[in-house]
């Protein structure tokens, strides 16, 4: 159980892929008064297990981090749990966003989008739909750049992460 160096904590939890398991996991956070910033859940390469990535936007004291890991590990449906050290993991997040963009503004917008490696998904008369897969901090920056144009609708997936090779 590593202590994270960044201002956030990523927990990776392998659980049985059964109904009610997500409620047990998220319920434990709420009972302990810990706010979840983002949560990503999907089956793993083994269909009977799901992987939950929990992003807590605080750096927990190592004692409380160990405590919450131990308590989550006590849940019968939790198969494995650990904290990922942000310094030793690769993380990505997906954002899709619809942004107001008149024809005259689009070149600048697309230019910037290319620089961060995003894609144009859809073009309307007064708006564009974009996607970006990047680290959460790059997405944060791009989101604030977009806010000058006017964000119509936005969805971020939250962090997912794997150990560095």
């Amino acid at each position: 159980m590593k202590k994270t160096q960044a201002n956030y904590t990523i927990l990776v939890i392998t659980v049985e892929n059964k109904f009610g398991v997500l409620a047990r996991v998220s319920g434990l956070f709420s009972r302990r008064g810990v706010n979840i910033k983002s949560l990503a859940v999907a089956p793993t390469d083994k269909a009977e297990f799901s992987r939950i990535t929990v992003d807590l936007d605080i750096e927990l004291e190592s004692v409380s981090l160990d405590q919450i890991i131990n308590q989550l590990d006590k849940l019968i449906n939790v198969v494995e749990i650990r904290a990922l050290d942000p310094a030793e993991s690769v993380e990505r997040e997906l954002m899709i966003v619809t942004v107001e963009a008149e024809a005259s503004q689009r070149d600048e917008l697309v230019d910037h989008l290319d620089k961060v490696g995003g894609k144009v998904l859809n073009i309307g008369t007064e708006s564009m739909m974009l996607s970006l897969v990047e680290t959460s901090s790059v997405i944060d920056d791009f989101e604030s750049f977009l806010s000058d144009y006017g964000i119509v609708e936005l969805q971020r997936t939250g962090r997912v992460a794997l150990d560095s090779l």
């Binding site: 047990r24 319920g27 004692v63 131990n70 308590q71 590990d73 019968i76 449906n77 198969v79």
Partner: protein
């Protein structure tokens, strides 16, 4: 048993029989009805309670007294919510329970059907695990898993929620192919811990080099069946022991190294020896706030060795110097083995021992005798009860002053003779718990010590005791008040007594007891006490309730006021001038 197609209800009862269940406590209703039919033909004794909370506490009393898992079965909706309190109680006190609740048929779930409630949702936070059965074929496996989870690792309550169509033979969904030995599917549950031997070595080293060590023994010793191993460890080290409220009886009170109960109402020596210790060896104890007082000021000079089967307990409250995650009995046996191999010279602890005996001489438990004509002293009643009952009597208590006095004044020399609600503090626990304990130990004497506030919460279960022929005895310490709350108002709210007076004359407990088929006795004066107890002891064919009229102004001493550290322990007025 043969392989065959049967229905979910029969499968449930058959699976319970295969788990060795001899008795279950319950009350039928709509959704669980189909399971009550095969009970008629089952070897399992079913005890019909008068309230579902009673079923849960009886199962707890049975489990705490026998070490076997307690089983309760009730219907859906209000029955399920009524058993939430015992589930939470069992969760906090790590009592192995398997509770079965009926549920509306699968297709009706989520429609606000009659007597529907989200039982698994409600009980998620108060069970070790719960199951909603969605396929009849899963019944035998889930029952096996439920017992495995309830009884292994840190024990606890497990709930199985059974939709009606799964158990109703008239519904095709209930059909399953019976398998004798279903394979459990619990990939995330690994209760066996490999004990870290380097931790044992460090612990033994710390124990050997400590000058003022204390064994801080909790309920985990009883759960681990480790009382004998503990006694060996204590005797080869010569170190004193405190037994928490959950561990009373885990080490004999009459042993010279036993200091009794620590905590908010612990005796002065137990509290102070922990506070002044240079080493606390916590064995299956969880540093509960009622033991530590203000955590920042708790045992400030003590190093901590923390042994617990639950990794989430280690470091939860106090960071240990040595942490050993494992079964208490195995850990203690490993410690004993290592100690036996060593010829290490022990520290000279004669000064510490004489300090301890000095405290014991200056600060024994004490109370003033009652004035002639005034109400009984509860401590006197308990001393008489202790002295006039067999040494292996099982005592079940409610919650409040009477609970603390019982724990203080009883002489617990045997494990599993003290049944109480420690963590949750559930008023009304004693009568159903005593009934459950008696069911598990029909040849032993079982006394419930209760308060008048508690008695009025669950006394109806004495009807169950009468009808099911489970004779228990109840010592009702009746001071006409909610005594512990009264004590706090007396000490901390300027004697402003708010909503704590019950009544001096209603109910008529003697008449109430008699109406429930019990013998009722009322005792007002000290001379009548031994006689009443002797009479109760002789009655074996029915339950007895003795209404002891006790003094409401009596306080439980010593007391560490809430939020204060344990050095602020308040002693009885007669000991105030003693040198600390």
């Amino acid at each position: 048993m043969t392989s065959e197609n049967i229905d979910g209800g029969k499968a449930l009862i058959r699976a319970l029989e295969k788990e060795g269940v001899e008795v279950m406590f319950g009350l039928p209703g709509g959704a669980i009805l189909p399971v009550y039919d095969p009970i008629i033909d089952s070897t399992i004794r079913h005890i019909l309670v008068r309230h579902e909370q009673g079923a849960g506490h009886m199962a707890q009393g049975y489990a705490q007294a026998t070490g076997k898992p307690g089983v309760a079965m009730v219907t859906s909706g209000p029955a399920a919510t009524n058993i939430v309190t015992p589930l939470c109680d069992a969760y906090l006190d790590s009592t192995p329970l398997v509770v079965i609740t009926g549920q509306v048929p699968l297709a009706a779930i989520g429609t606000d059907a009659f007597q529907e409630c989200d039982t698994t949702g409600i009980t998620m936070g108060v069970t070790k695990h719960n199951f909603l059965v969605k396929d009849a074929q899963d019944v035998p496996r889930i029952v096996k898993e439920a017992f495995h989870i309830a009884t292994t690792g840190r024990p606890g309550p497990v709930l199985i929620d059974l939709p009606k169509d799964i158990v109703d033979p008239n519904n095709p969904r209930s059909e399953l192919y019976w398998v004798d030995n279903p394979e459990m599917d619990l990939p995330g549950y690994k209760p066996e811990k490999k004990i870290d031997l380097s931790g044992i070595e460090k612990a033994v080293e710390l124990i050997q080099s400590s000058e003022r060590p204390v064994f801080y023994v909790g309920g985990g010793i009883l759960k681990a069946r480790a009382a004998e191993a503990l006694r060996e460890l204590v005797e080869i080290t010569g170190i004193h022991v405190v037994t928490t409220l959950m561990a009373r009886g885990a080490f004999p009170d009459s042993h010279e190294l036993c200091l009794g109960m620590p905590g908010m109402h612990g005796n002065y020596t137990a509290v102070t020896s922990m506070q002044k210790a240079d080493l606390l060896v916590a064995l299956g104890a969880r540093f509960d706030d009622r033991v530590t007082g203000k955590v920042d000021g708790f045992a400030p000079d003590a190093k901590i060795i923390h042994v617990d089967i639950d990794p989430a307990e280690i470091g939860k409250v106090r960071k240990p110097d040595v942490a050993i995650n494992g079964d208490c009995r195995l850990v203690i046996e490993a410690m004993v083995d290592l100690l036996r191999q060593q010829d290490a010279i022990q520290m000279d602890r004669s000064e510490w021992k004489s300090t301890i005996s000095g405290w014991q001489e200056r600060f024994p438990l004490t109370y003033e005798d009652s004035e002639p004509g005034s109400r009984l002293k509860p401590q006197y009643v308990l001393e008489q009860l202790r002295d006039l009952t067999p040494a292996d009597t099982i005592v079940a208590s409610g919650v409040g002053q009477h609970q603390m006095w019982t724990s203080q004044y009883w002489n617990f020399d045997y494990p599993y003779t003290w049944i109480n609600s420690g963590g949750l503090g559930t008023m009304g626990f004693s009568i159903p718990a005593a009934i459950g304990a008696k069911v598990g130990n029909p040849d032993r004497m079982v006394w419930a010590v209760d308060g008048d506030g508690c008695f009025q919460m669950t006394a109806q279960e004495l009807v169950t005791a009468t009808v099911e022929n489970i004779p228990i005895k109840v010592a009702l310490l009746n001071n006409s008040y909610l005594g512990m709350v009264r004590q706090w108002q007396d000490m901390f709210y300027d004697e402003r007594f708010s909503e704590v007076f019950l009544s001096d004359d209603v109910p008529n407990y003697k008449a109430w007891a008699e109406s429930m088929g019990c013998v009722g006795i009322r005792v007002d004066s000290p001379e009548e006490v031994p006689e009443a107890i002797a009479k109760a002891n002789e009655i074996e064919d029915r339950s007895v309730v003795i209404d002891f009229r006790t003094a409401p102004e009596e306080h439980v001493y010593p007391m560490v006021p809430a939020g204060k550290d344990n050095s602020s322990i308040v002693v009885p007025p007669s000991q105030e001038s003693q040198e600390r």
